[in-house]
Symmetry: C2
Subunit: 177 residues, 2 copies
DNA sequence: CGCCGAGTTGAACTGAATCAAGAAACGTGG
DNA sequence: CCACGTTTCTTGATTCAGTTCAACTCGGCG
């Protein structure tokens, strides 16, 4: 994934805006539309929403991964998600509408854009399979595999909700390693 | 979804082939590549794979929904999935490579193609959320909501594995309604 | 010092899995 | 059309991973 994101950065350079944001900064607030795609160059972002009063992390993004308010982007509605930086981060921002214009002008890039969305799809398939077949512990160890230093950057509760388990369970899992 | 699939059928008519298949017929066997997209006009298909010796249903498709061997399509590898008809079905088949050629010639259709893949993505998000937050019973009732007559067409075990529960649990859920 | 958010620990509870039998339904050949 | 075997579904008893709820610890920081 990282490789193709770097390709994206090169190819779409002229419609990308570079932004820095600080720990705790909310770059998109729920209940608004957000037709932007964020590419994380350094730092960590997460998207989250509330479900039955609980803060649920939908997604983490770090080193050259992509994050956005998917529902707003794909459905053109206001979003249930908020997106915030969990530490000082450097990100690139792309307006979805500008992307579409840009693709009209450069149809050769369509394929690259499609590749990225396919990657995101396969990613989701994996996550679904994780939820269906893996134990809490296995899911956690997969996550660590993917983001080895996530524990230094993201607090327990956020990771737990991402994995679909309680904070207590995650704490116990950590203890037992 | 149904609406946009019908649009697809209209727009891509010239590269679609109509096929009929019988109950039990396997239209794609795992371990082979399959760069075809199947659109179900009537009947029911399912894609499935084996995980730890168990038959897992990955997807159902009926009345104007789309099914394919996602891994083969998106990764260009051999597929873990098989696809079979669960009753006599009428389907339309599209070669992925032909689709790409066709899109090159008709770039206006790119957007429609993208819409479909977005729809599939959102679908998957919903399924993930179901797995994360809903009980076995709730997931089942959502499924019934979506495919009211699925019970007449698909046997218990296939539905159970799709929902990520055991056959026994699904049987008990049915009893209690 | 005392408060606050983050993480930990314990005990009781629960939804669903597992294992093990049976019952029903289904279809195939005599 | 019935008999038999196979597949599908049901039922019961037991177990277990993970939740819930409640209390407690720890490390900052005003």
């Amino acid at each position: 994934m990282e490789a193709s994101v770097k390709q994206i950065i090169k190819a779409f350079g002229e419609i990308l805006t570079s932004v820095t944001c600080n720990r705790g900064e909310v770059i998109h607030q729920s209940n608004a539309r957000c037709n932007k795609i964020f590419i994380v160059q350094s730092g960590v972002l997460r998207s989250y929403y509330f479900r039955e009063g609980k803060d649920i992390t939908a997604h983490f993004a770090m080193d050259y991964s992509i994050i956005g308010a998917v529902d707003s982007l794909l459905r053109q509605t206001t979003s249930i998600y908020s997106i915030e930086a969990l530490e000082k981060s450097k990100i690139l921002v792309m307006e979805y509408s500008e992307m579409e214009l840009f693709l009209d002008k450069n149809p050769r890039l369509e394929r690259l854009a499609r590749q990225v969305s396919q990657w995101l799809y396969l990613d989701l398939v994996e996550r679904l399979e994780g939820m269906m077949f893996l134990s809490a512990e296995e899911r956690y160890s997969h996550l660590l595999n993917r983001y080895p230093n996530i524990t230094q950057k993201v607090n327990l509760g956020y990771i737990a909700s991402y994995l679909g388990i309680t904070q207590e369970t995650l704490s116990r899992i950590r203890k037992s390693r």
